[in-house]
Protein backbone atom coordinates (compact mmCIF):
# COMPACT_ATOMS: atom_id res chain seq x y z
CA UNK A 1 0.00 0.00 0.00
CA UNK A 2 1.52 3.28 -1.16
CA UNK A 3 0.02 6.25 0.71
CA UNK A 4 1.53 8.60 -1.88
CA UNK A 5 -0.64 6.99 -4.57
CA UNK A 6 -3.76 7.52 -2.46
CA UNK A 7 -2.75 11.15 -1.99
CA UNK A 8 -2.30 11.51 -5.76
CA UNK A 9 -5.85 10.23 -6.27
CA UNK A 10 -7.10 12.84 -3.77
CA UNK A 11 -5.15 15.57 -5.58
CA UNK A 12 -6.89 14.58 -8.86
CA UNK A 13 -10.26 14.87 -7.14
CA UNK A 14 -9.30 18.28 -5.69
CA UNK A 15 -8.23 19.48 -9.15
CA UNK A 16 -11.51 18.31 -10.65
CA UNK A 17 -13.84 19.69 -8.00
CA UNK A 18 -12.04 22.82 -6.77
CA UNK A 19 -14.10 24.63 -4.13
CA UNK A 20 -16.84 22.01 -4.50
CA UNK A 21 -14.83 19.46 -2.52
CA UNK A 22 -15.47 20.05 1.19
CA UNK A 23 -13.68 17.01 2.62
CA UNK A 24 -12.68 13.47 1.83
CA UNK A 25 -11.27 10.50 3.68
CA UNK A 26 -10.02 7.11 2.47
CA UNK A 27 -10.55 4.49 5.15
CA UNK A 28 -9.84 0.82 5.55
CA UNK A 29 -13.24 -0.83 5.80
CA UNK A 30 -14.09 -2.27 9.19
CA UNK A 31 -11.07 -0.80 11.00
CA UNK A 32 -12.05 2.86 11.31
CA UNK A 33 -8.51 3.64 10.18
CA UNK A 34 -7.97 6.58 7.85
CA UNK A 35 -5.07 6.28 5.41
CA UNK A 36 -5.36 9.53 3.45
CA UNK A 37 -7.65 12.51 3.39
CA UNK A 38 -8.36 16.16 2.84
CA UNK A 39 -9.93 18.45 5.41
CA UNK A 40 -11.18 15.31 7.18
CA UNK A 41 -14.26 15.51 9.41
CA UNK A 42 -13.55 12.41 11.49
CA UNK A 43 -16.97 12.33 13.12
CA UNK A 44 -18.84 12.48 9.83
CA UNK A 45 -16.63 9.98 8.03
CA UNK A 46 -16.96 7.53 10.93
CA UNK A 47 -20.74 7.89 10.70
CA UNK A 48 -20.70 7.40 6.93
CA UNK A 49 -18.66 4.23 7.32
CA UNK A 50 -21.39 2.94 9.61
CA UNK A 51 -24.04 4.03 7.09
CA UNK A 52 -22.33 1.75 4.55
CA UNK A 53 -22.81 -1.16 6.97
CA UNK A 54 -26.49 -0.28 7.45
CA UNK A 55 -27.03 -0.07 3.69
CA UNK A 56 -25.38 -3.47 3.14
CA UNK A 57 -27.59 -4.99 5.82
CA UNK A 58 -30.73 -3.35 4.41
CA UNK A 59 -29.96 -4.65 0.90
CA UNK A 60 -29.34 -8.15 2.23
CA UNK A 61 -32.60 -8.13 4.23
CA UNK A 62 -34.46 -6.92 1.14
CA UNK A 63 -32.90 -9.64 -0.99
CA UNK A 64 -31.46 -7.00 -3.34
CA UNK A 65 -28.02 -7.12 -5.03
CA UNK A 66 -25.01 -5.82 -3.06
CA UNK A 67 -23.49 -2.36 -3.42
CA UNK A 68 -21.21 -2.14 -6.43
CA UNK A 69 -19.05 0.97 -6.83
CA UNK A 70 -20.67 3.80 -4.87
CA UNK A 71 -23.62 5.37 -3.13
CA UNK A 72 -24.77 8.97 -2.68
CA UNK A 73 -26.54 10.57 0.23
CA UNK A 74 -28.04 14.02 -0.23
CA UNK A 75 -28.44 16.31 2.79
CA UNK A 76 -30.71 19.29 3.37
CA UNK A 77 -27.77 21.56 4.31
CA UNK A 78 -26.58 21.74 0.68
CA UNK A 79 -24.03 18.96 1.00
CA UNK A 80 -23.79 15.64 -0.77
CA UNK A 81 -21.86 12.61 0.49
CA UNK A 82 -20.45 10.17 -2.03
CA UNK A 83 -18.94 6.92 -0.84
CA UNK A 84 -16.81 4.93 -3.26
CA UNK A 85 -16.61 1.28 -2.33
CA UNK A 86 -13.95 -1.34 -2.92
CA UNK A 87 -13.38 -4.65 -1.17
CA UNK A 88 -10.97 -3.19 1.39
CA UNK A 89 -11.40 0.57 1.25
CA UNK A 90 -14.08 3.24 1.32
CA UNK A 91 -13.46 6.69 -0.05
CA UNK A 92 -15.84 9.11 1.67
CA UNK A 93 -16.28 12.37 -0.22
CA UNK A 94 -18.25 15.40 0.94
CA UNK A 95 -19.38 17.90 -1.70
CA UNK A 96 -20.73 21.44 -1.50
CA UNK A 97 -23.50 21.30 -4.11
CA UNK A 98 -23.58 25.07 -4.61
CA UNK A 99 -20.00 24.98 -5.83
CA UNK A 100 -20.31 21.85 -7.93
CA UNK A 101 -21.83 21.08 -11.26
CA UNK A 102 -23.85 17.89 -10.85
CA UNK A 103 -23.34 16.66 -14.41
CA UNK A 104 -19.60 17.09 -14.16
CA UNK A 105 -19.50 15.49 -10.71
CA UNK A 106 -21.44 12.39 -11.75
CA UNK A 107 -20.05 11.94 -15.23
CA UNK A 108 -16.45 13.03 -14.83
CA UNK A 109 -15.17 13.64 -11.29
CA UNK A 110 -16.58 10.52 -9.62
CA UNK A 111 -15.72 8.04 -12.42
CA UNK A 112 -12.21 9.59 -12.51
CA UNK A 113 -11.88 9.22 -8.74
CA UNK A 114 -13.06 5.61 -8.86
CA UNK A 115 -10.61 4.80 -11.66
CA UNK A 116 -7.80 6.45 -9.68
CA UNK A 117 -8.69 4.42 -6.59
CA UNK A 118 -8.81 1.15 -8.55
CA UNK A 119 -5.46 1.99 -10.14
CA UNK A 120 -3.87 2.43 -6.71
CA UNK A 121 -5.26 -0.91 -5.59
CA UNK A 122 -3.91 -2.86 -8.58
Amino acid sequence: MDIKEFNNAIETLKDNLGKGLTACDIRITGTGKSIAGFNVDTKLTAVLEQVTDYISKMLKDADLPELQDYYLMDFDDGSLAIVLITDKYQWLILINKKETNLGFLLNVAIPDAHKALMKVLK
Partner: protein, 314 residues
Protein backbone atom coordinates in the same frame (compact mmCIF):
# COMPACT_ATOMS: atom_id res chain seq x y z
CA UNK B 1 -12.14 28.84 -11.06
CA UNK B 2 -14.95 26.58 -9.97
CA UNK B 3 -16.34 23.75 -12.06
CA UNK B 4 -19.60 25.48 -12.87
CA UNK B 5 -17.71 28.37 -14.43
CA UNK B 6 -15.58 25.94 -16.43
CA UNK B 7 -18.41 23.83 -17.79
CA UNK B 8 -21.41 26.06 -18.39
CA UNK B 9 -21.17 29.49 -20.02
CA UNK B 10 -23.01 32.32 -18.23
CA UNK B 11 -25.10 33.03 -21.30
CA UNK B 12 -25.88 30.67 -24.16
CA UNK B 13 -28.11 30.47 -27.21
CA UNK B 14 -28.32 27.27 -29.22
CA UNK B 15 -30.30 24.80 -31.28
CA UNK B 16 -32.10 21.89 -29.67
CA UNK B 17 -31.26 19.67 -32.67
CA UNK B 18 -27.57 20.06 -31.82
CA UNK B 19 -27.77 20.26 -28.04
CA UNK B 20 -30.79 18.59 -26.40
CA UNK B 21 -32.27 20.51 -23.48
CA UNK B 22 -31.61 17.55 -21.15
CA UNK B 23 -27.85 17.97 -21.76
CA UNK B 24 -28.07 21.68 -21.00
CA UNK B 25 -29.90 21.13 -17.70
CA UNK B 26 -27.23 18.60 -16.69
CA UNK B 27 -24.52 21.23 -16.93
CA UNK B 28 -26.21 24.21 -15.30
CA UNK B 29 -25.53 24.56 -11.60
CA UNK B 30 -26.57 28.20 -11.22
CA UNK B 31 -29.93 29.97 -11.28
CA UNK B 32 -31.44 30.89 -14.63
CA UNK B 33 -34.54 30.77 -16.80
CA UNK B 34 -33.93 28.42 -19.72
CA UNK B 35 -36.32 29.61 -22.44
CA UNK B 36 -37.08 27.51 -25.51
CA UNK B 37 -39.32 27.38 -28.55
CA UNK B 38 -39.98 24.59 -31.05
CA UNK B 39 -41.76 26.47 -33.84
CA UNK B 40 -45.22 25.85 -32.39
CA UNK B 41 -44.85 26.27 -28.65
CA UNK B 42 -42.81 28.38 -26.29
CA UNK B 43 -41.67 27.26 -22.88
CA UNK B 44 -39.24 27.91 -20.08
CA UNK B 45 -37.58 25.88 -17.34
CA UNK B 46 -36.86 27.63 -14.04
CA UNK B 47 -33.59 26.42 -12.54
CA UNK B 48 -32.59 27.46 -9.04
CA UNK B 49 -28.96 26.58 -8.30
CA UNK B 50 -29.23 24.08 -11.17
CA UNK B 51 -32.33 22.37 -9.79
CA UNK B 52 -35.53 22.40 -11.80
CA UNK B 53 -38.20 24.08 -9.69
CA UNK B 54 -40.89 24.96 -12.23
CA UNK B 55 -41.77 25.13 -15.91
CA UNK B 56 -44.08 27.10 -18.15
CA UNK B 57 -45.51 25.96 -21.47
CA UNK B 58 -47.51 28.54 -23.47
CA UNK B 59 -48.35 30.51 -20.30
CA UNK B 60 -49.33 27.36 -18.34
CA UNK B 61 -47.14 27.37 -15.25
CA UNK B 62 -46.70 23.83 -13.93
CA UNK B 63 -43.64 21.72 -13.23
CA UNK B 64 -45.12 18.76 -15.14
CA UNK B 65 -44.71 20.80 -18.34
CA UNK B 66 -40.96 20.23 -17.98
CA UNK B 67 -41.29 16.71 -19.39
CA UNK B 68 -42.80 17.92 -22.64
CA UNK B 69 -40.31 20.75 -23.07
CA UNK B 70 -37.34 18.48 -22.36
CA UNK B 71 -38.57 16.06 -25.04
CA UNK B 72 -38.53 18.65 -27.82
CA UNK B 73 -36.27 17.52 -30.63
CA UNK B 74 -36.13 20.80 -32.57
CA UNK B 75 -36.14 24.51 -31.91
CA UNK B 76 -33.91 26.93 -30.10
CA UNK B 77 -33.07 27.80 -26.51
CA UNK B 78 -31.46 30.55 -24.51
CA UNK B 79 -30.38 31.08 -20.94
CA UNK B 80 -28.63 33.82 -18.97
CA UNK B 81 -27.10 33.14 -15.58
CA UNK B 82 -28.66 35.24 -12.81
CA UNK B 83 -25.59 37.24 -11.87
CA UNK B 84 -25.13 40.59 -10.15
CA UNK B 85 -26.56 42.54 -13.08
CA UNK B 86 -27.84 41.36 -16.47
CA UNK B 87 -30.39 42.09 -19.19
CA UNK B 88 -33.27 39.98 -20.51
CA UNK B 89 -35.89 40.64 -23.18
CA UNK B 90 -38.90 42.62 -22.02
CA UNK B 91 -41.21 39.81 -23.21
CA UNK B 92 -39.74 37.65 -20.38
CA UNK B 93 -41.00 40.02 -17.67
CA UNK B 94 -43.77 37.66 -16.51
CA UNK B 95 -41.31 34.77 -16.24
CA UNK B 96 -38.79 36.98 -14.42
CA UNK B 97 -41.37 37.97 -11.81
CA UNK B 98 -42.58 34.38 -11.48
CA UNK B 99 -39.01 33.11 -10.98
CA UNK B 100 -38.30 35.75 -8.32
CA UNK B 101 -41.47 34.78 -6.47
CA UNK B 102 -41.04 31.01 -6.46
CA UNK B 103 -37.33 31.25 -5.64
CA UNK B 104 -37.71 33.88 -2.94
CA UNK B 105 -35.06 36.03 -4.62
CA UNK B 106 -34.26 39.64 -3.89
CA UNK B 107 -33.79 41.71 -7.02
CA UNK B 108 -34.29 45.10 -8.63
CA UNK B 109 -35.97 45.16 -12.06
CA UNK B 110 -35.49 48.23 -14.23
CA UNK B 111 -37.19 48.95 -17.57
CA UNK B 112 -38.81 51.76 -19.54
CA UNK B 113 -42.55 52.08 -19.66
CA UNK B 114 -44.24 54.88 -21.61
CA UNK B 115 -40.73 56.29 -22.12
CA UNK B 116 -40.21 56.64 -18.39
CA UNK B 117 -37.95 54.50 -16.20
CA UNK B 118 -39.71 52.10 -13.84
CA UNK B 119 -38.10 50.22 -10.98
CA UNK B 120 -39.66 47.20 -9.22
CA UNK B 121 -37.94 46.19 -6.01
CA UNK B 122 -38.39 42.65 -4.70
CA UNK B 123 -37.22 41.28 -1.39
CA UNK B 124 -37.28 37.54 -0.71
CA UNK B 125 -39.83 36.92 -3.44
CA UNK B 126 -42.18 39.75 -2.55
CA UNK B 127 -42.62 43.16 -4.23
CA UNK B 128 -41.63 45.79 -1.68
CA UNK B 129 -41.44 48.83 -3.91
CA UNK B 130 -42.37 50.30 -7.30
CA UNK B 131 -40.95 53.61 -8.53
CA UNK B 132 -42.87 55.64 -9.52
CA UNK B 133 -45.66 54.13 -7.44
CA UNK B 134 -48.74 53.58 -9.66
CA UNK B 135 -52.18 54.50 -8.41
CA UNK B 136 -53.62 51.10 -9.24
CA UNK B 137 -50.99 48.38 -8.89
CA UNK B 138 -53.03 45.55 -10.43
CA UNK B 139 -53.93 47.53 -13.53
CA UNK B 140 -50.28 48.64 -13.79
CA UNK B 141 -49.12 45.00 -13.88
CA UNK B 142 -51.89 44.01 -16.27
CA UNK B 143 -50.71 46.70 -18.66
CA UNK B 144 -46.99 46.03 -18.49
CA UNK B 145 -47.38 42.26 -18.74
CA UNK B 146 -49.69 42.43 -21.76
CA UNK B 147 -47.11 44.34 -23.77
CA UNK B 148 -45.31 41.15 -24.87
CA UNK B 149 -44.40 42.48 -28.32
CA UNK B 150 -42.33 45.32 -26.89
CA UNK B 151 -38.79 45.23 -28.28
CA UNK B 152 -36.90 46.32 -25.24
CA UNK B 153 -34.83 44.89 -22.44
CA UNK B 154 -35.21 44.59 -18.72
CA UNK B 155 -32.20 45.12 -16.46
CA UNK B 156 -32.08 42.94 -13.38
CA UNK B 157 -29.89 43.62 -10.39
CA UNK B 158 -29.96 40.29 -8.66
CA UNK B 159 -29.48 39.56 -4.97
CA UNK B 160 -29.48 43.20 -4.00
CA UNK B 161 -31.44 43.50 -0.81
CA UNK B 162 -34.63 45.34 -1.58
CA UNK B 163 -35.50 48.42 0.35
CA UNK B 164 -38.29 47.62 2.72
CA UNK B 165 -41.41 49.65 2.34
CA UNK B 166 -45.10 49.62 3.00
CA UNK B 167 -45.86 47.86 -0.25
CA UNK B 168 -45.85 44.06 0.14
CA UNK B 169 -47.61 42.47 -2.79
CA UNK B 170 -47.50 38.79 -3.63
CA UNK B 171 -46.77 38.18 -7.27
CA UNK B 172 -49.27 35.36 -7.86
CA UNK B 173 -52.17 37.66 -7.25
CA UNK B 174 -51.05 40.18 -9.80
CA UNK B 175 -49.02 38.43 -12.47
CA UNK B 176 -51.06 35.29 -13.03
CA UNK B 177 -54.61 35.40 -14.28
CA UNK B 178 -57.04 32.98 -12.69
CA UNK B 179 -56.93 30.79 -15.78
CA UNK B 180 -53.22 30.19 -15.33
CA UNK B 181 -52.43 27.42 -12.93
CA UNK B 182 -50.43 28.48 -9.95
CA UNK B 183 -47.40 26.34 -9.40
CA UNK B 184 -46.04 27.87 -6.25
CA UNK B 185 -44.63 25.09 -4.16
CA UNK B 186 -46.42 24.35 -0.94
CA UNK B 187 -44.84 22.65 2.00
CA UNK B 188 -46.03 19.09 2.48
CA UNK B 189 -48.72 18.79 5.11
CA UNK B 190 -47.80 16.99 8.26
CA UNK B 191 -49.95 14.04 7.35
CA UNK B 192 -49.39 10.42 6.53
CA UNK B 193 -52.59 10.31 4.43
CA UNK B 194 -51.88 10.02 0.78
CA UNK B 195 -53.84 10.10 -2.47
CA UNK B 196 -52.62 6.84 -3.96
CA UNK B 197 -54.10 7.56 -7.38
CA UNK B 198 -51.56 10.35 -7.87
CA UNK B 199 -48.69 8.05 -6.91
CA UNK B 200 -50.02 5.30 -9.21
CA UNK B 201 -50.26 7.79 -12.08
CA UNK B 202 -46.74 9.00 -11.32
CA UNK B 203 -45.30 5.45 -11.46
CA UNK B 204 -47.32 4.65 -14.62
CA UNK B 205 -45.97 7.82 -16.21
CA UNK B 206 -42.43 6.75 -15.32
CA UNK B 207 -43.11 3.43 -16.99
CA UNK B 208 -44.48 5.18 -20.11
CA UNK B 209 -41.55 7.60 -20.29
CA UNK B 210 -38.73 5.21 -19.47
CA UNK B 211 -39.96 1.76 -20.51
CA UNK B 212 -37.76 -1.03 -19.19
CA UNK B 213 -35.29 1.50 -17.72
CA UNK B 214 -37.73 1.76 -14.81
CA UNK B 215 -37.67 -1.61 -13.06
CA UNK B 216 -39.90 -1.10 -10.01
CA UNK B 217 -41.20 1.39 -7.48
CA UNK B 218 -42.73 1.41 -4.02
CA UNK B 219 -43.91 3.96 -1.50
CA UNK B 220 -43.60 3.22 2.22
CA UNK B 221 -45.08 4.78 5.28
CA UNK B 222 -42.35 6.04 7.61
CA UNK B 223 -44.17 4.36 10.51
CA UNK B 224 -44.77 0.99 8.97
CA UNK B 225 -42.45 -1.47 7.26
CA UNK B 226 -45.06 -2.52 4.69
CA UNK B 227 -45.31 -0.67 1.37
CA UNK B 228 -48.34 1.57 0.93
CA UNK B 229 -48.19 0.87 -2.80
CA UNK B 230 -45.86 -1.14 -5.01
CA UNK B 231 -45.43 -1.02 -8.76
CA UNK B 232 -43.96 -4.02 -10.58
CA UNK B 233 -42.53 -5.54 -7.44
CA UNK B 234 -43.61 -7.84 -4.68
CA UNK B 235 -40.46 -7.32 -2.63
CA UNK B 236 -40.76 -5.67 0.75
CA UNK B 237 -37.72 -3.53 1.30
CA UNK B 238 -37.20 -2.62 4.90
CA UNK B 239 -36.40 1.07 4.45
CA UNK B 240 -38.34 2.20 7.46
CA UNK B 241 -36.08 0.50 9.99
CA UNK B 242 -33.02 1.38 7.95
CA UNK B 243 -33.97 5.07 7.88
CA UNK B 244 -34.69 5.04 11.62
CA UNK B 245 -31.22 3.57 12.24
CA UNK B 246 -29.61 6.24 10.08
CA UNK B 247 -31.52 9.02 11.85
CA UNK B 248 -30.47 7.65 15.24
CA UNK B 249 -26.88 7.43 14.08
CA UNK B 250 -26.80 11.10 13.06
CA UNK B 251 -28.64 12.11 16.22
CA UNK B 252 -26.22 10.26 18.50
CA UNK B 253 -23.27 11.77 16.66
CA UNK B 254 -24.80 15.24 17.04
CA UNK B 255 -24.50 15.78 13.30
CA UNK B 256 -27.28 18.13 12.23
CA UNK B 257 -27.83 16.61 8.83
CA UNK B 258 -31.12 15.43 7.47
CA UNK B 259 -31.07 13.37 4.33
CA UNK B 260 -33.23 14.02 1.26
CA UNK B 261 -32.35 11.02 -0.85
CA UNK B 262 -30.04 8.07 -1.37
CA UNK B 263 -28.75 6.77 -4.67
CA UNK B 264 -27.22 3.31 -4.47
CA UNK B 265 -25.19 1.72 -7.24
CA UNK B 266 -25.94 -2.00 -6.99
CA UNK B 267 -24.69 -5.10 -8.70
CA UNK B 268 -26.77 -6.65 -11.55
CA UNK B 269 -27.05 -3.16 -13.12
CA UNK B 270 -29.52 -1.93 -10.53
CA UNK B 271 -29.68 1.66 -9.39
CA UNK B 272 -31.75 2.14 -6.26
CA UNK B 273 -33.08 5.64 -5.68
CA UNK B 274 -34.72 6.38 -2.31
CA UNK B 275 -36.50 9.68 -1.70
CA UNK B 276 -37.03 10.53 1.96
CA UNK B 277 -40.05 12.53 3.08
CA UNK B 278 -41.27 13.14 6.60
CA UNK B 279 -44.03 10.55 6.47
CA UNK B 280 -43.12 8.39 3.49
CA UNK B 281 -40.19 6.97 1.58
CA UNK B 282 -40.27 6.32 -2.15
CA UNK B 283 -37.93 3.64 -3.48
CA UNK B 284 -37.37 3.23 -7.21
CA UNK B 285 -35.14 0.80 -9.05
CA UNK B 286 -33.72 1.67 -12.48
CA UNK B 287 -31.52 -0.10 -14.97
CA UNK B 288 -28.31 1.84 -14.44
CA UNK B 289 -26.98 1.16 -17.93
CA UNK B 290 -29.95 3.02 -19.40
CA UNK B 291 -30.68 5.91 -17.02
CA UNK B 292 -28.70 9.16 -17.05
CA UNK B 293 -27.86 10.29 -13.54
CA UNK B 294 -28.20 13.98 -14.42
CA UNK B 295 -31.69 13.32 -15.79
CA UNK B 296 -32.63 11.28 -12.72
CA UNK B 297 -31.49 13.89 -10.20
CA UNK B 298 -32.23 17.15 -12.01
CA UNK B 299 -35.43 16.27 -13.86
CA UNK B 300 -37.14 13.17 -12.46
CA UNK B 301 -36.50 13.97 -8.82
CA UNK B 302 -38.30 17.37 -8.86
CA UNK B 303 -41.18 15.77 -10.77
CA UNK B 304 -41.49 12.97 -8.22
CA UNK B 305 -41.34 15.43 -5.32
CA UNK B 306 -44.04 17.49 -6.99
CA UNK B 307 -46.26 14.42 -7.48
CA UNK B 308 -45.71 13.35 -3.87
CA UNK B 309 -46.58 16.81 -2.55
CA UNK B 310 -49.73 16.80 -4.66
CA UNK B 311 -50.65 13.36 -3.33
CA UNK B 312 -50.53 14.51 0.28
CA UNK B 313 -52.22 17.86 -0.39
CA UNK B 314 -55.20 16.22 -2.10
Amino acid sequence: MSIKEKTAPRKFKGNIERIPLRSITDYISFSCILTAENGNDTGALFLKNGNLIDAVLNNDYHINNAKEILNWTKGSFFYQKWDDEFKLDYKELRNILHFIEISGFSAEINFNFNNKPVKIVCSEGVIVGIEPLPKDIKSFFNTILKDTEKKDTVTIKYNKAGQTGDLKEHFSEIIHSEKIKKSKKTAPKNSSKINLNIIKQSFTQLQDDLGDTFISGSIYSADNRKPVYSFKTSKTVVFTEFQKSINNLFLKSKLEKKNNFYLLDLKKNYLLFILIFKNHHIALIFNKTKIKLGYLLSILRPLLINDYEKSINN
